[in-house]
Symmetry: C2
Subunit: 471 residues, 2 copies
Amino acid sequence: MTAFMPVTDKVIEDLCAIVGPHNVSVDEEKRLAYSRDEVGVQFWDRQYCADVVVFPESTEHVSRIMAYANDKVIPVTPRGAGTGLSGGAVPAFGGIIMSFEKMNRILELDLENLTVTVEPGVVTSEIQSVAMKHSLQYAGDPCSGDASFIGGNVAENAGGNKVIKYGTTGANVLGLEVVLPSGEITWFGGKRRKDVTGLDLVHLMVGSEGTLGVVTKIILKLVPLQERIVDLLVPFEKVEDAISFVPKVITEAKIVPVALEFMDRRALKIVSRYLGSSLPFDDAGAHLIIQLEGNDPEVLADEYEKVGDMCLESGALEVFVADNRNFREKLWKARKGIAEAVMAFYTKYAKEDISVPIKEVPALIKAVDEVCRKWDLEAANYGHAGDGNVHINLLAGEDRVDWHEAIEGARIDLYEVTKKLGGTLSGEHGIGLKRKKYIGMFLDEAQIRLIKGIKQVFDPKGILNPGKLVE
Amino acid sequence: MTAFMPVTDKVIEDLCAIVGPHNVSVDEEKRLAYSRDEVGVQFWDRQYCADVVVFPESTEHVSRIMAYANDKVIPVTPRGAGTGLSGGAVPAFGGIIMSFEKMNRILELDLENLTVTVEPGVVTSEIQSVAMKHSLQYAGDPCSGDASFIGGNVAENAGGNKVIKYGTTGANVLGLEVVLPSGEITWFGGKRRKDVTGLDLVHLMVGSEGTLGVVTKIILKLVPLQERIVDLLVPFEKVEDAISFVPKVITEAKIVPVALEFMDRRALKIVSRYLGSSLPFDDAGAHLIIQLEGNDPEVLADEYEKVGDMCLESGALEVFVADNRNFREKLWKARKGIAEAVMAFYTKYAKEDISVPIKEVPALIKAVDEVCRKWDLEAANYGHAGDGNVHINLLAGEDRVDWHEAIEGARIDLYEVTKKLGGTLSGEHGIGLKRKKYIGMFLDEAQIRLIKGIKQVFDPKGILNPGKLVE
């Protein structure tokens, strides 16, 4: 590891000369605020804090900051909206936080090429709003879309509810303008749909957690918006029945839903208490939310009736059809509110982001029960049942004294099962600072060597978001 | 560049000990045959020839060959079915050709996870046949699917006719077993749908043209097969009208077709002569083939009527609905036969594989006309209009004396226009040996440095498929 140079008054002065004094902050409160994401400060063994926060307004600014920092060997940690769940934007070695909140323009909506070109600081849902005006959609849609920046989505390869039909963020990215640690500005990909000219550097960047280069422009593809959406809310008495039903939608009904989410009893109880409103059958073992879409109302009705009937045959307690906006919003508010609700009621929680092959979700949930029994923990499970990505929340009461020991043991047990099931450590939240100590359970020596080697190629001095992934 | 060691009798003996003598060939005819792909020997300035061809039967074989070759510093060039169009499998430095024709098993069809696990030597269409028996499909479907190996498709990130709806090969790959040049065996990805644990090495491998590692197992995702397919054959008087119509299917009709292909007049004439049968309106400037699919016959009929009406409004001479197998096979035989037909009638041809943003296809076709006028060449153009990937065939008669000069000048002009249009050198055929001298027109210094660096990380001695891409 390179020895980093300190951020002196001279460095601050130089940064002010590059981006203007109004785009540089050394205020302590601000530095602390911009050194956090949603992992929660209590997770870390010490308080991380950047020495300075800079707010570039252009690619040129980013390029000059990077060239400067590279020359002076000062760490730079790029930051989106701070909605991350892995400490990816936490400055592990202090230095410069580069916030993208001022690079927040939608640069071009190209209706002929079906692309939108944006700066990294655009809130994801704004892209959606612009696209929807033209009956189009950006299909990468993380649950945090109302707050997260698209740049952060790209850095983490965010998933979300629509992956089963439309893929992750990466599947919807066509091109990236990238500033390398050297300050060089380059373009990977573009508006073209196919490109085998060289290696696929676009998708090497996506999900690289800001460790290889700084993304300064993003070209996303758009797809036609379907005219009609229907959500089914389906309570099952047993969580196993709910989860076992999931793959049948595709394999038996031959329907690819937009979303296929689940929440278990505890997850639903917590969010109901948090929101002060509940969903029907709130004592059921688990609820599925199945979203279907289409342009033809009759075909859509046929599809949801078919899926609904299959649910009932598989032990569903009831099938609620949310074909109006109010009900739909209510149920998605519940689904999307769980993460926040857990944090509101628990201080001792671990948010896991396990991804397994779809058919292994029941085995995973069963293993979570066993892990909880062994370590005397509770679990609230929810997530993207349709793509096998389950957000397991391991919980304990405030008074639990051996929390650290218990959660550490539980994690190791959970990860071992995950690995046996052909799964992995993180499906969409990323490794960042939070999970890097466990990555060796999932990647072998060769892979870690390759990843470290690639990092070295992109960032020889190791100044870009140091201390993340495998470092 | 490393100095490679010669393939001595001792080396042959050692290889025989690894894979068995029946899996090693030094027969000259065989060595020559396995040193070619479909680029055509006349393209090269000298005859490339491997020193030995080996036929591994297992990952273990591949691993031991690689470890041996790495130790002895002998070049290894992996080879699929030899249907490549860029010299990707041509052994630029001799050494060992590793043919995958004996690793041709479909290992597992997993109907619950909707995946199929295959060895690299499986013919792509066989995967399709197996999937179709279960009303599923593998959606990566290159035009060469009846002959090409899936391993070659992965190495080149093959495209094909369905990219507009289902993406390229890469979009359909979930996991890869890879043997690194060191002989280490590792897995990138798996059956899980989401994975952000580390960098995306799966998609770094896809399209890397066998330069980073040797793929020995492939996990592909399957999607539900739609019950009904309809192809529209639509002749237009002017090629511009045909091409300008293309994006409207998505932007105005809001329909994402499975395929949206075009053939210009000369392409159709050549293939008609080759097949001894013609399509209606064979004097038209261009024909589009628009494939739609669905489960509901009425919705599908509505869609093709809508698209058909739009064609007629946009100047189509006629709309033929190929809703029966015979007509469909006939028109696809024409579309898929063009590449072969060109080679049957011309010895002086250059097959280009330009990819541009969809809306720039008309500008590209116009530029091709100008380039042909300037260099006194003919052009037969066809390809994937729906995704912007156009196969431009630049042609001259047998008696053309300054062919090399003309084609070189024409290429440079064509590539310059391509670049201006936001396009790139290759959409699906790859760089290989054929296009590497032009890659510097499309990748900047930083990108070439990064690609060389990544190659060095994976293959420090440079033994794996040397002389390709940017080397």
